[in-house]
């Protein structure tokens, strides 16, 4: 297949928004039956890309490709090229500079810990719960899916090369979805739901029988073996509970979404359509209250993974890993920046749609806190000074429209702890957090 030439300009960004308007539009008000219920909703989503973003020294010809905004003498700031797609949303977006995970996080292994704050450097290390899952624990029972976990690679990857951002409280990875059609079917297809009913019934029946027959082993085992059997039986019970919840939701009405405007068959081979579809579904999932916690990993940290080739498929000259390594060299920042600008454009389109969808007395954006960024800071993939953007959620008491600078001495988990407070899922501490970031709160 011939790749299209790489061009990102204002038109691409506009096209992103345009596509949004052309999409199957759904009246959230009508669907949710009553705006009061909606107004109280609190949602969180995180969007991630690997290997960081350019930070060129002041005065460098490619400084404009920096992630961080350019500050003026009067204290105001302008977005650089990468962030340009968010210009219209400047007062709804906060840019962070100098937040970091600890050095232990490592470089190539940091996606595992991006939302958990826990370094996973090898097979033996155990992860901890991710931000989105804390939210899912809190609100998951009220929605069809407790969370929506997306990534380009799907599955869970390997420790240190995670292809999911989401981890349960016990540190196990939640497999991500990468297939657009499957995702759509799961959420919106009545036919698929019908099939699922039968499938769930079958599973429930198997579990029922298996736990009964396996219980018979009890009493024939040593003490430690008995503990292992109990672990097995309790996993079965967990799954039974999950299935029960799914069954309860299956009886309920599905929103009617017209799939004809979505590219349901898009794969990474047609990256533009694919990425747009994933963002579309992410938006639709939140809009129809399928879930209130979502993550989307746009590429994992395995340089050999197919997603590392995403930029190549978009027509660029290098894979993302190589681009990140070369970003300090001559035009490397511009090259990498163009790629990130495209991704940011998609994120911007997503925010625009949240902003233009009414909910309660405001818009969905007021009730959706999102985090956009990477777990790497520099061209050497350090876990310091991470490129991070936060947006929306003013309805939960967040203050946006700021440029906040730190000095790598504040753990990113402090931001997470603060966000979780506002999301109504407060944690005593979150991973290595040492406090709160009160600057993001409305005074």
């Amino acid at each position: 297949m011939k790749t299209q030439s790489w061009q990102i300009d204002r038109r691409t960004v506009l096209r992103g928004v345009g596509a949004a308007i052309a999409l199957p539009w759904l009246d959230a008000m009508a669907w949710a039956k009553g705006s009061e219920a909606l107004a109280a909703k609190k949602r969180f989503c995180a969007i991630y890309f690997p290997f960081g973003a350019p930070t060129m020294p002041q005065g460098h010809p490619h400084e404009k490709w920096n992630w961080t905004p350019k500050e003026e003498k009067d204290g105001s700031y302008r977005f650089g090229e990468i962030m340009k797609p968010l210009t219209g949303l400047k007062d709804r977006v906060t840019v962070f500079h100098g937040l970091s995970h600890g050095r232990n996080m490592g470089g190539h292994n940091s996606a595992d810990g991006f939302l958990t704050g826990t370094p996973v450097n090898g097979g033996g290390d155990k992860n901890t719960i991710s931000v989105d899952q804390v939210v899912a624990e809190k609100y998951g029972k009220d929605t069809r899916f407790s969370s929506l976990v997306l990534s380009l690679d799907g599955g869970i990857g390997a420790p240190g090369r995670s292809s999911t951002l989401s981890y349960r409280r016990d540190g196990t990875a939640i497999p991500a979805q990468s297939n657009v059609r499957r995702l759509f079917d799961q959420m919106f297809s009545a036919a698929a739901q019908k099939k699922l009913v039968a499938e769930l019934k079958r599973k429930a029946s198997i579990l029922d029988r298996v736990s009964e027959s396996s219980r018979k082993l009890s009493g024939k085992l040593g003490k430690r073996d008995q503990a292992k059997l109990d672990e097995y039986l309790s996993s079965i019970r967990d799954l039974e509970r999950q299935i029960q919840k799914q069954e309860e939701w299956l009886g309920k009405e599905l929103p009617d979404i017209d799939p004809s405007k979505l590219s349901l068959d898009a794969t990474l081979e047609s990256p533009k359509e694919y990425l747009q579809s994933m963002f579309d579904l992410l938006f639709l999932a939140l809009q129809t209250d399928m879930t209130r916690a979502a993550t989307f990993q746009i590429g994992n940290q395995d340089p050999g993974a197919s997603t590392g080739q995403l930029p190549l498929k978009l027509g660029m000259k290098k894979g993302q890993h190589a681009m990140a390594h070369y970003m300090k060299r001559d035009d490397g920042a511009a090259e990498y920046g163009e790629y990130l600008q495209h991704i940011t454009g998609l994120y911007g389109g997503f925010l625009q749609r949240l902003k233009s969808t009414n909910e309660g007395s405001g818009t969905m954006l007021d009730h959706t806190l999102s985090l956009y960024g990477s777990s790497n800071g520099s061209s050497t993939h350090s876990p310091l000074d991470l490129p991070l953007v936060m947006s929306g959620g003013e309805g939960m008491g967040l203050k946006q429209g700021q440029y906040l600078k730190f000095n790598n001495d504040v753990p990113l988990t402090n931001l997470y702890a603060t966000m979780l407070n506002q999301l109504g899922a407060p944690q005593k501490t979150f991973a290595d957090s040492t406090g709160q970031v009160s600057a993001i709160l409305k005074g």
């Binding site: 390997a158 029988r209 073996d225 996993s235 340089p303 001559d330 035009d331 753990p411």
Partner: protein, 906 residues
């Protein structure tokens, strides 16, 4: 902006951090709060006297009854690290002592030796506590199958060959690096769901209801006749070394067999010539001759079975399932498959090429007949069903089933059968069998007291087959268990030999060598494309195979394990041989072959004796840019000598505290480790070993010089690739100053800068036209100046383009600087050595015992599926002695392990 709370830095705050985090623990930990009601001190467990003496001399005065600095009272901390509530607190104490943060500077200071002694004692205490916490009382914990065991078991059970556990959560690694340790392996709802789905898919795949599908065939003869529209009648197969079968009406299911007959090649040359077929999918929307673009680029290649008759070579390829290969491009409607054969030798002629499918050697296929067994009861559905279920349960659960168990499952079948077909009713029951604990776990039943007992025959058979095959026992082994003969040493020994001889023992070779030596770490190293532009990712697989084949050879030939340290052979693919600096073999022979090092001509290859010289080890223990003496040293003392160092203290920020650490040479960096006493305590035990590997770079190539990117030179070159600012040079070229460059001005400018061969006016004109192209295209759009001039904008674009090309040229040929690789090192016992050859000689001379015991321990831990404990020491010693007496023969050791008491008890 309000100041957010800062992360406490150990380095900045010195002792304060310790205090405050201890304080946090005291405030937060419920275990500590409970202290108010009961005394924390567990008087029954005490640190050794030297530690307590140290504490009372240097610590208690500030952290004791008189004064509890920052609320920390060491006298109230339980010294029971195994079950007590203060293990974490003591860890902080250890770190503070280790880093010299405590006692604080103003207080009385211990000597270095005192500090060292107490740090060592505490470290040992922690190690012992960790193993005590994990202790299983010397018993094997009922463990679930690892993901790879699950795969192999399911495949062997159903006569299939697929990876069912691809999306399962990975198995955790034990402290020894093994995946099959029951204490570490958990299970979750997600995994249960994975198991249900995998079992369902596998059974769908295995069972073939209905009649045998009609065989479809295709012959290249027919296609070529169709294709030669231009009137040519020559038979394509007679003139070409390649052929393609475009197959529109391809079989949608089942295996396909491709037969290719070629001539023009001698039988001896076959292994040097590429003879794979590849399979592509797509559609021929715009097929022109030689246009492959519409087909998927993803190819799956298959190796042939070869038979030779006279001058004809018959190659037969079995493609297990055509639909699996390959994924179809999304935007190309999938219409047909292309089966492509291309010989690596242009003298080859394709005489004929045919394909047929779905091709089953038997019908129903083997996988179906494994479940729906041939039986005299086949006509009597009810009896047959019961027979099928009982037989499947017995095989899946690796033991005879009770009548009650069989009855129960049959009951479920009967109730299924009311609403579903015979096959579906059976299938549903089989899924249940495959999700039961009896299938997923290696269950070893015990009496109520839970005492040590002999394994029963079927448990022993399973333990043996999971050790050497990573799978269930086959019929022969289960038969011996049924007859109760398996426990007899004669039979057991014979079975070990039979299992090792079987192809399935490759699974043991693959898994054990990979886990023992930590080969999987290679996959997580990102090789720097700048330092190693010639590195090819395919090498990683070749490197892994070298080590695995090496291990397999030593095992299967029952050679001395000392070969791991040094040998006169290794196993190389053509690619890896070249990577090692060997001669180029004829291309297209990817197979790994045994290479005798005495015959090896390449300089690099001569150094490849033993696994210490394998690139897999070097790469796995590098940082992708350069060697990593620390990692390699740790690897050696841990994986080869069996003496893993303790974890480094928390929050080591050493590298950042030394100005310009990055710029120091390796030796200087390591010397810095040793200057810092808290680092030196451990690093002096392994760094020196790592230095001996310095003649091997990050990707395991032999070197005498270390290649580094010359950043300064690179910066210089990039600087010189920069052009003068376009505004400035434009003004200079624009001699008439009208703001545009006319042709004469342009030509003059070119001539000024030009040296060398005389310029071709046509070329100059061409370049001018190109630069001015935009103007030419927009002719008439702007009439304020004549066409065919270069505007400042166009000129700037031109300069940017030139500059980009120049920088790309620089990057295509990066500058390196070289420093001598220095592999001289002084080992902990003061032996001075230079390089890996010396190290190998040293190990063979002084460390044979440690090495032998380490191999015994690793193999035994893997065989048992648990960590070894103090109570196993006697067995380890006996086995080690026997191993040495057996001249370190590996297969003999495997036999001895299976025959030892530990292996046969639960």
């Amino acid at each position: 902006m309000p100041q957010p709370e800062k992360r406490l830095s150990v380095v900045q705050l010195n002792g304060w951090c310790l205090i405050s985090s201890l304080l946090a623990l005291l405030l937060a930990g419920p275990a500590v709060l409970a202290d108010e009601t009961k005394p924390a001190i567990d008087a029954t467990v005490r640190f050794s006297d030297n530690v307590n003496r140290f504490l009372s001399t240097y610590c208690i005065s500030c952290h004791g009854p008189q004064k509890s600095e920052s609320g920390v009272r060491l006298d109230q901390f339980s010294q029971d690290l195994t079950n007590g509530p203060h293990a974490d607190d003591w860890h902080e104490v250890l770190d503070a002592l280790n880093k010299g943060q405590m006692p604080p500077r103003k207080a009385k200071q211990p000597s270095n030796d005192e500090r060292q002694e107490v740090v060592d004692s505490l470290t040992v205490a922690f190690k012992e506590a960790a193993s005590a916490r994990r202790s299983t009382g010397g018993q094997v914990v009922m463990r679930r199958l690892t993901n790879y065991e699950y795969n192999h078991t399911l495949n062997d059970l159903l006569a299939l060959n697929e990876n069912w556990s691809k999306d399962f959560p990975p198995d955790p690694l034990s402290a020894e690096g093994f995946k099959n340790n029951g204490s570490y392996m958990g299970i979750s709802a997600l995994q249960i769901e994975n198991y249900i789905e995998a079992a369902t898919r596998a059974l769908d795949e295995a069972i073939y209801p209905g009649d045998q599908p009609a065989l479809k065939t295709i012959d290249i003869k027919d296609i070529t006749t169709l294709k030669t529209r231009d009137g040519k009648t020559a038979h394509l197969a007679d003139v070409t070394y390649a052929g393609v079968l475009y197959w529109k009406d391809y079989p949608k299911q089942g295996p396909v067999v491709v037969d290719v007959i070629i001539r023009g090649i001698k039988a001896d040359d076959l292994d040097r010539v590429n003879t794979v077929v590849s399979l592509e999918a797509g559609s021929r929307l715009s097929v022109k001759k030689g246009n492959r673009d519409v087909f998927s680029a993803k190819q799956v290649t298959v190796d042939p079975a070869i038979s030779i008759k006279d001058d004809l070579v018959h190659l037969q390829y079995r493609i297990p399932k055509i639909e699996l290969y390959p994924q179809v491009l999304p935007n190309h409607p999938f219409e047909e498959y292309a089966i492509r054969f291309e010989a690596g030798d242009r003298n080859v002629r394709v005489v004929s090429m045919k394909a047929k499918g779905p091709y089953y050697e038997t019908w129903p296929p083997q996988s179906h007949r494994q479940i729906f067994i041939p039986s005299k009861n086949a006509k009597n559905e009810a009896v047959y069903a019961r027979e099928i279920l009982e037989r499947f349960m017995t095989r899946a659960w690796r033991r005879p089933v009770t009548t009650q168990e069989a009855d129960e499952l049959y009951g479920i079948y009967q109730s299924n059968r009311k609403t579903a077909s015979f096959v579906e009713s059976i299938k549903d029951c089989l899924v249940q069998v495959l999700v039961s604990a009896d299938f997923l776990y290696l269950v070893e039943r015990k009496g109520p007291a839970g005492n040590r007992e002999k394994l029963n025959p079927h448990e022993l058979a399973s333990r043996l087959s999971y050790f050497l095959w990573s799978s269930k026992p086959d019929d022969v082994l289960s038969g011996l268990a049924d007859q109760g003969k398996i426990a007899s040493p004669v039979h057991l020994r014979a079975e070990v030999r039979r299992l090792l001889k079987d192809d399935r023992s490759w699974r043991f070779v693959e898994q054990f060598s990979t886990q023992w030596l930590g080969l999987d770490r290679m996959n997580t190293i990102a090789v720097s494309p700048e330092i190693y532009p010639e590195f090819n990712d395919a090498l990683i697989a070749d490197m892994k195979e070298e080590t695995q084949h090496f291990f397999g050879y030593v095992l299967h030939e029952n050679l001395s394990a000392l070969n791991f340290i040094d040998s006169d052979f290794t196993f190389l693919s053509e690619r890896l041989e070249r990577h090692y600096g060997g001669p180029r073999r004829r291309p297209g022979s990817p197979a790994v072959r045994k290479v005798t090092l005495e015959d090896a001509t390449g300089k690099g290859i001569a150094h490849r004796g033993g696994i210490l010289a394998h690139a897999s080890i070097h790469l796995a223990n590098s940082d992708g840019e350069d060697s990593h003496a620390v990692n390699r040293g740790v690897w050696l003392v841990d994986r080869i000598l069996g003496n893993p160092p303790p974890e480094p203290p928390a929050d080591v920020e050493f590298d950042q505290t030394i100005e310009g650490f990055d710029k120091l040479s390796l030796k200087q960096q390591l010397a810095a480790h040793v200057q810092n006493e808290s680092c030196a305590r451990c690093h002096r035990k392994f760094d020196p070993f790592g230095v001996a590997f310095e003649n091997f770079d990050a990707v395991g190539a032999f070197r005498t010089k270390v290649r580094k990117l010359d950043q300064e030179e690179l910066a210089k070159r990039l600087e010189s690739a920069k052009m003068e600012a376009p505004e400035v040079s434009f003004k200079r070229i624009d001699t008439n100053g009208d703001g545009f460059l006319q042709k004469d001005e342009w030509f003059a400018h070119i001539r000024t800068n030009h040296t060398g061969r005389p310029l071709d006016p046509k070329q100059m004109q061409g370049q001018f036209d190109e630069v001015a192209q935009v103007r030419a295209d927009k002719r008439g759009m702007n009439s304020s100046h004549p066409h065919f001039t270069v505007s400042p904008d166009e000129y700037e674009k031109h300069v940017v383009k030139l500059e980009r090309a120049a920088t790309q040229r620089v990057q295509a040929d990066l500058p390196y600087r070289y420093v001598a690789a220095d592999a001289t090192t002084v080992l902990p016992d003061s032996t001075r050595i230079n390089g890996l050859e010396d190290l190998k000689a040293y190990l063979l001379k002084h460390k044979k015992d440690e090495f032998a015991e380490n191999i015994v321990r690793r193999l035994l831990a893997y065989a048992l599926g648990r960590s070894l404990e103090f109570s196993d020491d006697q067995t380890v010693q006996t086995l080690t002695r026997q191993f040495k007496e057996d001249d370190y023969r590996l297969a003999s050791l495997v036999e001895a392990i299976v025959l030892c008491d530990l292996f046969q008890t639960k």
